[in-house]
Amino acid sequence: MKEITITIAPDGSVSTQVKGIKGAGCKTLTNQIEKALGSVASNKATPEMFEKAQPEKLKLGG
């Protein structure tokens, strides 16, 4: 299961969290939304980001 969670705080500030996507592809997914919103104040990669993506699985949507 791939999941993007976007939390909009009562003051309008936004945090995004991506789960279930290996490799740097997770950044590509949220890049457009983050750019449209404003400036990135902090960006924390999690261990999953540094795992190798598996293209076959991604193609199948699994």
Binding site: K2, I4, P10, S13, K44, E48
Partner: protein, 150 residues
């Protein structure tokens, strides 16, 4: 988990701002060059970067509370700090004569609604790729938008 990002919001999309304002009962007045305020600064709050007292009340567009002609207005003002987009300026003294009830303290309700409009707009390409969008209320007044794909 793959990454976590925190974003400081910048007002750049006037169509999303217009939609957010409409949802909160405000009218987006395209091209209105002045916004209603008390008319004099008493200097108790610092002005945004690049602005002087002579600039107060001037704007590129304005937001007015529908049905409250006496309420102060929000000025949508082009930034002068080198960044693209706009800042929101308003006179909150005394609740801005009804303005604050519509836009929230520090324009928070308007900013939150604007962010939501921007997220929903830019989530559409992902929805077209098969991501399902779910919106829910989060803790402490937050809005949570989830995009899920099996």
């Amino acid at each position: 988990m793959s990454h976590v990002t925190v974003i400081e919001i910048e007002i750049r999309d006037l169509e999303c701002l217009r939609q957010a304002a409409e949802d909160l009962g405000l009218e987006f007045r395209q091209g209105q060059q002045t916004f209603k305020w008390w008319g004099h600064s008493v200097g108790d709050f610092p002005l945004p970067e690049g602005f002087t007292e002579a600039d107060m009340g001037k704007c590129s567009h304005a937001l007015a509370v529908k049905g409250k002609p006496g309420a102060y207005e929000v000025g949508v003002v082009a930034r002068r700090d080198g960044k693209a987009g706009y800042i929101l300026m308003w006179d909150f003294y005394g609740g801005g004569k009804g303005l604050q009830a519509a836009v929230g303290d520090k324009c928070s309700k308007l900013c939150q609604k604007y962010s939501e409009k921007v997220v929903l707009k830019h989530a559409k390409p992902l929805q077209a790729q098969g991501w399902n969008l779910q919106r829910s209320a989060g803790a402490n007044g937050a809005v949570v938008i989830k995009l899920v794909r099996p």
